[in-house]
């Protein structure tokens, strides 16, 4: 089992200043550059501490957002490639359906991989729907663009036989020739999946299937992956092919846990603050899903499958937010791990909302010292049900 420290590099202090959406449309007068300087350096420090504590590192990106000031996965990782020593460095992900220039994406991947000594892992993702407003790339035919970009990046990273040309529908290049080429032949590849269909695609490719806050739907998703992986590769999917992301915070006692939980939970309140028209621009979801939403009158994500105003315990049991003392959070993650049939990559949103630096570092340290070794040991043979299935 591997543990990844993740944070979205938010300027959460602006959330209260802004009236309405915290992304896409709020004036950047609320983004104070001096504060941003402090925040960026703080988050980078936390990743360096994570490296020392034995975590791997995950970064993401968003645009025009007080929730995430990382404007480029690769920019953040370029810094960490040099400033960390051991951690695997995961971009999850690079929104290639938003990028006009996949050649540059491939070049940046290769350069980071070389500088870091082959520690890069790459998630190519489509893009959040509201990001299309900034990139100006069309929501329509997003997946066609994604797959052409994906195929191009993989070819560019793995091609060692002199320049090649590319005349696709969306991208055209006369001379693709990566200098440097990556140190790893091809960095380990990841995909984010929230549908069983996509999990099967990831399985066929042998990519790591990562799912975020997927709660009760995770079991079916991971089962689809395992089923398809067995069919495609003739062997069971290793646990490290499956990744799950949740909020995670640890405390020395229940009082401290409650305090840290409350600070982090502000993140969940800020996330939905998206301009209504950009939550789901036409073309992003299929016509069938959009038509079904109209016909049934259902809108948006249904509260992670949790009851209204979920308690801390419901959050943990639902796999949305693990929070506890070392013993409690061990049982929470172990229980969720077993419930979904096992996974080997624990993606931890370990700093979010108003959780300050000292609390963040203490929470990370406590988990690394007292929880991670226990979880590694307890899950080394997989989930009980997968063991039973194998027998």
């Amino acid at each position: 089992m591997k543990f990844w420290h993740f944070c979205e590099q938010s300027m959460h202090s602006a959330w209260n200043e802004i009236d309405g959406p915290t992304k896409v449309t709020p004036s950047n007068q609320y983004c104070h550059p001096e504060l941003a300087h402090e925040y960026y350096n703080r988050y980078l420090d936390e990743w360096m501490i994570a490296d020392d504590l034995g975590y791997n590192i995950m970064v993401n990106e968003h645009h025009a957002s007080a929730n995430c000031m990382s404007v480029s996965c690769t920019l953040t990782l370029a810094i960490l490639a040099r400033q960390t020593k051991k951690a695997r460095l995961l971009a999850l992900g690079i929104p290639i359906a938003n990028r006009t220039d996949p050649y540059r994406v491939a070049e940046e991947i290769a350069m980071i991989d070389v500088i870091s000594g082959g520690r890069l892992e790459v998630g190519l993702v489509k893009a959040s729907p509201f990001e299309l407003v900034m990139s100006n790339q069309s929501p329509a035919r997003l997946m066609d663009r994604f797959w052409e970009g994906h195929d191009f990046v993989v070819k560019a990273l793995t091609h060692t036989d002199g320049p090649f040309s590319w005349e696709g529908e969306f991208y055209q290049y006369r001379n693709v020739n990566l200098w440097p080429r990556p140190l790893q032949k091809l960095p380990p590849m990841w995909m984010t999946c929230s549908s069983e269909k996509n999990a099967r695609i990831a399985a066929r490719l042998g990519y790591v299937c990562a799912t975020f806050f997927n709660g009760p739907k995770t079991r079916a998703l991971f089962d689809s992956y395992r089923d398809e992986y067995q069919k495609a590769h003739g062997k069971p999917a290793p646990a490290d092919r499956l990744a799950y992301l949740a909020l995670s915070v640890t405390g020395h006692n229940e009082k401290q846990v409650s305090e840290r939980y409350a600070k982090v939970k502000t993140y969940l309140d800020a996330q939905p603050r998206t301009p209504a028209a950009w939550i789901n621009p036409p073309g992003y979801e299929t016509i069938e899903l959009n038509a079904m939403a109209l016909k049934t009158g259902k809108k948006g994500r249904i509260n992670f499958g949790l009851p209204e105003n979920p308690t801390m315990q419901e959050m943990a049991e639902g796999g949305i937010f693990f929070a506890g003392t070392p013993d409690q959070i061990f049982h929470q993650i172990k229980s969720f791990h077993d419930k979904v049939g096992g996974y080997g990559q624990v993606l931890m949103l370990g700093q979010a909302g108003y959780l300050e630096h000292d609390d963040t570092v203490d929470s990370m340290t406590l988990f690394a010292n007292e929880v991670a070794p226990r979880l590694r040991e307890a899950t080394k043979d997989g989930a009980p049900m997968s063991k039973a299935a194998a027998a």
Binding site: S138, A140, R141, A277, A291
Partner: protein, 270 residues
Amino acid sequence: MFVSPMPDRLTVGGVTFEFLTKGEGRPLLFLHGAHGADADDPLIERLSKSYKVIAASHPGYGLSTRPEHVTTVEDVVYSYLDLIEKLDLKDVVLVGASLGGWIAAELAVRGSSRFSQLILIDAVGAKFGDRETRAVTDIFAYTSEQLPDLLFADRDAGLKAMHGLKFMDLPEEVSVRYARNRETLVLYGWSPTLFNPKLRQRLTRIQIPTLALWGDRDRIASPDYGRAYAATIPGARFELIQGAGHYGYFEEPDAYANAAIAFLGVGRAR
């Protein structure tokens, strides 16, 4: 606008068009707006009293198919040229509203001898003004619930034309039709937002009599935008319709039909 399917089908150039033919007289090709058309659209009804109206759903709209090679307004224009040739329409009146106005203008600049008159109703498709001023309102920045206010002079008229947006009470096909129309609109018009940068210069090629009919309260393509459109097409006339929004032809179909028919020179609608 997006409920009743049209009765006829014709496959040409890989596109199976959903279309209707209504009325007698000179052929009038009606090109619908950004959110689609249906068999009961009021302007089609009014115009069919004096003309043989042919109205289709654009490829990707309604029940018209959109083969993979059709991804832009230019592709749609060639699909319509295929349709016009297949139906062997001659002496055609082109009437296009909103997105359909863009398609009509693109057809007209291609100079087919089959076209004899052009009416642009609250059309989009051309870029006027400087690079820091939007030519056409970003229609995609609004939710469905906001569209009756944005697209019509009057919200109640808008809701009526948009079937109250009561998808839960309407047949499932209506939801599919509406969702499909919106996705196709994004495909054709996302960026540049509902215009072709090349069209403005090409409008000067239009040689057939042209009328630009505009709602005085069009919030998508303003009356000034309409005036610029008319000023660019040689000899084009510009007329305002009072109390009408971008989809004024749903709010004031008689006014639009009367102005169109007067221009076309066959007297007023009965």
